[in-house]
Each structure stands twice: as C-alpha cells, then as structure tokens.
C-alpha cells in the first residue's frame, strides 16, 4: 500500500470514531467541549504513535504468546507518561479529561491498532498509520464536540457565542445527545463515502478480525 494511503486510511476511510466506532466511551464523555476533545485526541495521538513505534520495533523479539502482555505494558506505560506530563505542564487539560485520560489505556483504537497494524507492519508504516488514526480520532472527537458545544452549550472553547447562548439545546450535553450527534455525524460521513458505515469499515479487513 502507498504511504499516503496508509496515512489517510485512519483519517477518512477508517476513521476510528466515525467509521469504526472505536473508543465510543471517551467520545461521548469528552465531546461536550471542543478543547477537551482536542486534548483527548492529541493525548491519544501521542500514545498511539509512540506505542505503535515500540510494538512494531519489538514485534520480532516478542512472540505471539506474549503480545497482549507486551502491548498492554507499552500502551499503559505511555499513557502513564502522558498523564504525568499533562498533570505537570497542562494541569487544566488534565482536570478537564480526568479519568478519561487514564482510560486511553483501554481504548479500542489503541488496542486494535497495536494488534492489527503494529504487529503486522514495518515500523515506519505503523507510525504512519498511527499518525493517521490519531489525527482521525482527534478530528472525529472534534467534529462531534463542535456540534455539541456550540448547539448544546452556546459556546466555542468556553467562549460564549452571542445568539446561541440564549437558545441552548441542553439535551446535547447529556449522554443521549452525545449518541444523537455521533449518529448524525456518522451518517454524514457515510453519505460522503456513499457506503453504509459497517461496510466501509470492514472492507479492508480480513474476516474474524477483532474490532475491539
């Protein structure tokens, strides 16, 4: 596969949030605010790239019997690292994300990527794919957060929007509103791709592969 294709796949065709519907938990939790969504996306991006790099580099040293242990060790290691660094240098972002920052460790996007991509591809390809997926994850979160924060709270990145602030749709701030917006954005992506979500998502994958 061409390098650009590897990179772009995670952003559009296999967007983890909007197409593969991975990591739906943080998607619903942090998308009431675009800043939180961006921080979440970037934190996941960093962990994803670093862990894909390590897992891919070590894939020949660590056999399949040990892969889950190694993958989890590496991913949680980087999550802890990011958590410490954010706590020290971005305390506000750290407060905003709270427990969901820690929960990146069990995010399906990462576990899936480690198994499906990093263990099966060359280091450089894995990193490229991680970059694409990370950016796709960030964009997906951002898209959902954009709708939820602007219409649900009448603000953008915490800054009040004159007219909309008076006509908030507070349902969008709650979990059901999160599902609603996620569904609508997914429908939009499906319409652009001109294919049902599950079909595009699965098209390039072998049967039986876990979606985590």
């Amino acid at each position: 596969m061409k390098k650009t294709a590897i990179f772009l796949k995670g952003i559009i065709k296999e967007n983890p949030v909007l197409v593969l519907v991975l990591g739906a938990c943080p998607t619903l939790a942090v998308t009431t605010n675009v800043l939180a969504a961006l921080y979440m996306g970037l934190a996941a991006l960093v962990v994803l790239v670093c862990s894909n790099l390590c897992i891919s580099a070590l894939k020949n040293l660590i056999g399949d019997n040990f892969k889950m242990a190694a993958n989890i060790l590496i991913i949680t290691g980087f999550v802890s690292l990011v958590q410490m660094l954010m706590g020290a240098f971005l305390p506000k972002a750290s407060d905003m994300l709270g427990i969901y920052l820690t929960l990146i460790a069990v995010n399906g996007v990462l576990i899936g990527n480690a198994n499906d991509i990093a263990r099966k591809n060359k280091v450089w390809d894995s990193v490229l794919s991680a970059l694409g997926t990370g950016i796709g994850f960030t964009c997906g979160l951002f898209a959902v957060a954009l709708v939820r924060e602007i219409l649900g709270n009448g603000t953008f990145a915490g800054i009040e929007i004159p007219f909309l602030a008076d006509y908030k749709i507070s349902l969008l701030n709650a979990a059901p509103g999160g599902f609603l917006v996620l569904g609508l954005v997914m429908a939009l992506i499906a319409a652009i791709n001109k294919k049902p979500v599950d079909e595009i998502g699965m098209s390039d994958r072998k049967e039986g592969e876990a979606n985590a």
Binding site: I62, A69, L73, G77, L81, M84, G87, A88, F89, P91
Partner: protein, 413 residues
C-alpha cells in the same frame, strides 16, 4: 521453547525500561503536579492572600461573631482568611465575602463570593485592600448603600474578632476616620440614613482639612490647635461647635470657621427664600431669616413670618435619599410647633415605581399625613414606607430636623 524464552527476556527488558522511564518522569513531574494540586486547592484563598503558601482551617474562636463562618490560617504564618456571610437590609440574598488579613493587621485581599445586588456596589469592596482595622484609607464618605454598610460591618466584625484574640493589633485611626465616626452624633445633618457623612472637600486656608456637607447643611473643618486636632462643625445658621477627637466639646477656632465659611453659606440664600415662599404660600409675606439656631439636623436655612394671628417658622431641608440623591423639602410650623405645611421641592417620587409598588399609591395622601402633627404626636411610622426605605427615611429625617430646629429657635427665644 527457545522463542518463549526470548520473548520472556524481551518482555522483562521492556518492563524494566518502561518502569525506569516512568520513574524518571515521575521524579521530575511529581513535585510540579503536587504544586499544581495545591495551587488549585488554594486558588480561592490565594485570591485574597496572594503570597499565601498553604491554608488550614482553624476552629472559630469563642468570640467569633455570627458573620464569620470559617476561619483559615496561612500555614507559613502570613495571616488569616475568613469566610463571612452577612445580609443587608436591602437585599433578600446573603452576601458571601472572603477576606484575607495579614498578621500585620492589613487586608491583603477581598472577594465577594455571592451577592445579588452588585449593581450599586461595584468596586467598593476592593477599596478595602491595604486597609487595617482603622479603615483609614477607605473613602468613608462614599458607599452610601446598605450593601456597603453590611460589607463594612462584616469586615469590622472580623477585625474585632482577630484583635480580641490577639492575632493582630489594632490599626491607628486617622483624624479623618475619627471625625467621620463622630459626625452622625455631632452633625447628623451631614450624614445619610446609614450614618455615613457625605462631605465634599473644599479649600480652607488655616485648616488641615475643610469640607462642605453634600446637602448644603453646613461645613466641617479639621484644624490643629496647640498640637491637638480639633473638629469644628458649622450649621446653616452659622452656629459653630468644636470637638476633640474623642467627641468632647472643646473651645476651638469658632471665629475662624465662621469667617471662612459664612461667605460660602450665602450661596443658598436665594434658593432658600424662593422655596420658603412657595411653602408658606403668600408671596407678599415678610420673611425674616433665622440665625444662630443651634440645630445640626438636615436644615439648610430657616425663616420666620409674623402675622396678626400667629408666628410661622419655615425650614428649608435637604436630605440624602436613594443612592444619596438629594431630596429637598420645606416645612412650615406654627408657633406651637404644629406642622402647617409640608412641601417637597424635588419630586418625592424620585424612584417612582419603587415607591408606589410598596403601597404608596397616593403621594398627596402620604404628605397630608404630616399636616397638623407636632413633635409629640408624630411617629416615625407615618413616614416610613417599607420597601422604599431610602426615600421615606429621608422624609422622616426631614420632619425630625424641622422639629429640632423649631425647638432650638424656641429655646433661644
């Protein structure tokens, strides 16, 4: 088997590397994270004590006033932070205040944590920063509302508690502060209903400080007599009284005060005459200006008219109403001290809806209540209208001021 051993070794190495990396990161970030956490927890306190490092709640002393709800000590001994809750007569809601007071007895910071009526309150609380218990640097002549009185009292409560506990020492009150505290007693006509003197500083050669009252009722001066500060007050009738800073009447620069301010006092004369005529109702009457009336109420001038049947006394009055707006009235009394006419010069319904909303639908009916009353038959309930307290307090004050002035005239006769 060989592969498994290789994998196990590799996994162990990865494990060690990850742990090492985390340990190093933790070593560098842990203190910073701790600092951030502390800063977040202290944010509310740091706002009122910017130099504060840590805060711990301490038990309220036994003498704690009801206003103080929580007391905290700055852990490095810089001072105290108190959380206060007070109510003002004006607002239905409580006012939440956080104040930081250093061990040097100076206010380091103030925060209003909750209050409904901030519109007429504004920046006033922040003027307290840097003041000690004497509140010298506070503009004592401003902040007329109930809100600021409630605020001031809550702050003073805190100071008194800490002083009584020996935590801080008392601030030295300046002559101006002592004077302002004295004025509600020695010159009530210079103060609004909250007891705050409303003065305008003026030029006064020979005096340390000279002020005109904001409602043309007279003058106040601070002067130095043989090393002692003397407060002199002069009313609208040219009567001068002098006091020391403890409020005892003393001999002082009576003539100097009189000659310095008499000229200024004259500027009201024309206006007073005009309004006195209107209140009396007979343009052809011959008015005699009253002088040397020993009354320090809200009277800006007075006249007598002698007719064949009676002698009438007309007093011009200015009082402070809502938001310290001046309200001007004229009261006519007969020789028996009975109110013959009560006339408002400035429209009484300064804040119309507010006044009428509270049961005062008919201004004429309200004012006619004062006809025929004497000092003995008058009761404050006639004037005071609940919910329109500023305006009706001013009306009440005007009637008392008229009676006081009348009494002084009679005593002089």
């Amino acid at each position: 088997m060989k592969n498994n051993v290789k994998s196990a070794v590799a996994l162990t190495v990865v494990c060690v590397v990850v742990v090492g990396l985390l340990a190093v990161t933790n070593y560098f970030t842990a203190p910073k994270i701790e600092e951030n956490k502390k800063a977040a927890a202290n944010a509310a306190f740091v706002e009122v004590m910017p130099e504060g490092e840590g805060f711990e709640e301490i038990a309220l002393p036994e003498n704690a006033p009801a206003t103080v709800t929580n007391l905290y000590r700055e852990t490095s001994g810089q001072g105290f932070v108190a959380k206060l809750v007070t109510t003002s007569q004006y607002s239905s809601g409580d006012m939440g205040i956080t104040v930081g007071i250093g061990t040097d007895g100076v206010i380091k910071g103030v925060a209003i944590t909750s209050y409904n009526e901030t519109k007429d309150f504004g920046e006033y609380p922040y003027s307290y920063i840097g003041a000690d218990s004497a509140l010298n640097d506070i503009d004592v002549f401003a902040g007329a509302t109930y809100s600021s009185m409630a605020f001031k009292n809550a702050i003073l409560d805190t100071f008194n508690m800490l002083i009584a506990n020996g935590d801080i020492s008392e601030g030295q009150k300046s002559a101006e502060t002592l004077m302002a505290e004295m004025l509600p007693v020695i010159f009530p006509g210079s103060c609004n209903a909250s007891g705050l003197a409303q003065l305008v500083e003026i030029e006064g050669t020979g005096f340390t400080k000279a002020y005109a009252t904001g409602n043309d009722t007279g003058f106040v001066a601070l002067s130095d007599v043989d090393g002692n500060t003397v407060v002199s007050v002069m009313n609208a009738f040219g009567v001068v009284k002098c006091y020391d800073l403890e409020g005892n009447e003393v001999s002082g620069p009576v003539d100097e005060v009189k000659s310095a301010f008499e000229v200024l006092a004259d500027k009201n004369a024309d206006n007073n005459i005009k309004n006195a005529y209107k209140a009396y109702g007979d343009e052809s009457a011959e008015l005699t200006a009253l002088t040397d009336v020993d009354a320090f109420g809200s009277v800006t001038g007075g006249f007598s008219v002698t007719t064949e049947e009676n002698t009438y006394y007309i007093f011009n009055i200015k009082t402070f109403g809502y938001m310290n707006e001046l309200m001007e009235m004229a009261v006519v009394l007969d020789s028996e001290g009975k109110v013959v006419n009560y006339r408002t010069v400035t429209d009484l319904i300064l804040h119309g809806e507010y006044f009428t909303e509270h049961g005062l639908k008919d201004k004429e009916a309200y004012l006619s209540q004062f006809k025929e009353v004497t000092e003995d038959s008058y009761s404050d309930d006639l004037a005071i209208v609940t919910g329109a307290t500023f305006t009706s307090d001013a009306v009440n004050d005007s009637i008392h001021s008229a009676f006081d002035a009348f009494k002084a005239v009679k005593e002089a006769e």
